[in-house]
Amino acid sequence: MVENRPFLDFMTHLVLITGVIVVAFPVYVAFIASTHEPDAFVRGVMPLLPGDNLIESYSTMLKSGLDIGGTPPVWLMLGNSLVMALIVAFGKIFISILSAFAIVYFRFPFRILAFWIIFITLMLPVEVRIIPTYEVVANLGMLNSYAGLTLPLIASATATFLFRQFFMTVPDELMEASRMDGAGPMKFFRDILIPVSVTNISALFVIMFIYGWVQYLWPLLVTTEEGFYTIVMGIKRLMATADREPAWNLIMATVTLAMLPPVLVVLFMQRLFVKGLTETEK
C-alpha cells in the first residue's frame, strides 16, 4: 500500500515510536541499573544515565555468581540455557519436519487421525501436564540432566502444523519429477524438500530457540543441582533474598546478559526469518 497522506504517515509513526519506547525503555532502565552501585536503584530517584560500576557488576556475575542467591556463575547458566535452547529448537524442527513429511507425502492408515492427534496436543503444553510429566521424567532418572530439561519440550504440534501447511504448497510435480529421476522418499526429503524449506526452517529455529531460552517453570522443577540451572530461573533465584534488598545492579546485569543471545539469534537470522514468514518461493 503506497499512499500519500501526511497525517496518516504521522499517526502511524507516532504509534510505532510509542510502541518502541514502551518496549525499549524498561530494557534501557535495566541496563542503566546494572551500571550503578547496588543501592542506586532503590534510592527513589531512578538514574537515567550510565554509572561507573559497569565492569564490576558484569565481571562479578560472570565469574562467581551470587553466593546468597545460591546461583552458579552466570556464564554457566548461560551455557545451560544455550544448550537447552539449541536442543529444543533442533529437536523440535527435526521431529516436526519428519512427521509433517509423513503426513503430507505418505498414504498410511489413520493418517488424518494421526494428524489430529498431533494437532490436539497443542492444547496440552508442558504447564498443563506438568505433574505427570515430572513423574515420568523422575522415574526415568532424568532429573538434573539435559535430556530431562529438553525432551518433554521437544514434541511440537505448532511446528508440525506449519511444516505441513508449507509442504502442501510445494507442487506435487517436484516429488514426481524426483521419482522419475530415481530418488526414493528419503532422498527426495533430503535433496529436494529440506533445501526448499530452508527459509521456513530458519524462521522456526528462531521462534523455537527463544521458546527454549525463556523456559522457566520446567527447569525450575527438574533441576536441583546448580550445575544445571538455566539463566531465566537463575534470575528468579537472585531475587529471592529474605533479609535484605536484592542486589539490583547485579540482577540487572544478569538480565541484560540473558537478553543478549536471543537478540543475537534474531539479528543474525533476521533476513532468513522475515523471508520465511513472508515469502513463498518454490
Partner: protein
Amino acid sequence: MASITLEGLKKTYSGDVHAVQGIDLTIQDGELVVLVGPSGCGKSTLLRMVAGLETITQGTLKIGHQVVNTLEPAERDIAMVFQNYALYPHMTVYNNLAYGLKNRGFKKEEIKKRVHNAAKILEIDDFLERKPRRLSGGQRQRVAMGRALVRDPKVFLFDEPLSNLDAKLRVQMRVEIKKLQRRLKTTSLYVTHDQLEAMTLGDRLVVLNAGKIEQVGTPMEIYSRPATMFVAGFIGSPAMNMVPLKYIQDIDNKNLSLNLPAPTDTLGIRPDAICLSPPESPHLTIEATLELFEAAGSESHLYIRLANSEQPAVIRTNGQPPQHEGEMLRVYVAHEALHPFDSRTGKRTD
C-alpha cells in the same frame, strides 16, 4: 527405443470418478503420438499411468515387451516433461539435469558429457550455472526438456509442456520439439488440449473424450474424416458447422437427393468448404444472410444465418465478401465436402 502398448487401461479414482474408461492403443517405436481432448477428459491421468505416477486400476501396460504395470517410474526408463516444468528451485541448471544421472550412479565424467551435450542441443549451455528462478519461461521449458533428454530414455512423456508459454514462443518450441523428436526417434506420448498443437505435432492423434477414445489416426485422416461429431467439432478452427439435415435447402434443386446413408440427420460442413462462388463438382446452393464479417489478416470469417431456418454457420475464406453485413448472399457447398452424421449416436454414417 520401444513401443508402448495399452490394453484395456482403466483408472477409477475414489468416489467413483471414472477418469479413464478402457483404452486400447499401441504406440509404435519412434512414433510421436498426441493425446488431445478437452480439459478434464483424462489425458493427464492416462499419461501419468504410463509414467507410473498413478496406479492402474485395470488393464495392462507394456513398454517394449515388458509389462510395467507395477514398476516404479524410475524403473520404466521413461522421462517426463511437466506442465509447470517442476525444476528443482534450489539447484543450478547443471544440477537439475545431472540429478537423475547421479541417482542412477553414472560416473562424473559421463554426467558432465551428457549434460553438456543436452545443453548444447537445447541451447542452454550459457545458463548452466544459473538457478531456475533467474531464467525466462522459455529457458525453463528448455531446461525441463533437457532433464528428460540427458537420460536418453526409451520413452518421452509430455504433459502440456507448452501451455505456460506465450503464443509466439509456443509455436517456436512446438517446431523444436518436433525436430528434436524426429532426430532422436524416441517414442513419445504428448498431451495437449490445443487441437492446432496436436495437428501440427503428431504423427498420429488420439482424440479423447470423457475417458474414452473417440478416434485414432493421422492428423489428416482425422481432419478429413472425423469419426464422430465430437471429433468433428473439436478438430479444426473455426469449428465445423453442424447443420440439421432438414434446414438444408438447395434452391436450384428443390427435391434434394444427396444419396446420404440411412440414419443421417446432420451434416457437418467445414468453414472453408463453404464457397462464395459455385465449384465445378456437384454442389448445394444455399441462401443465407451475412450477419458479421471478421477480417483476421490472411483469412477472414463470415458469420451467416441460413435463410428460413436462422441456423448459424461460419465461413472461412481469404477474400472480402461481395455483400455488406445484413444482406442476403448465396453460398455453395460441394457434395463431397459434406460429412454425414447421426446426431442420436454422434457417429459418422458413411
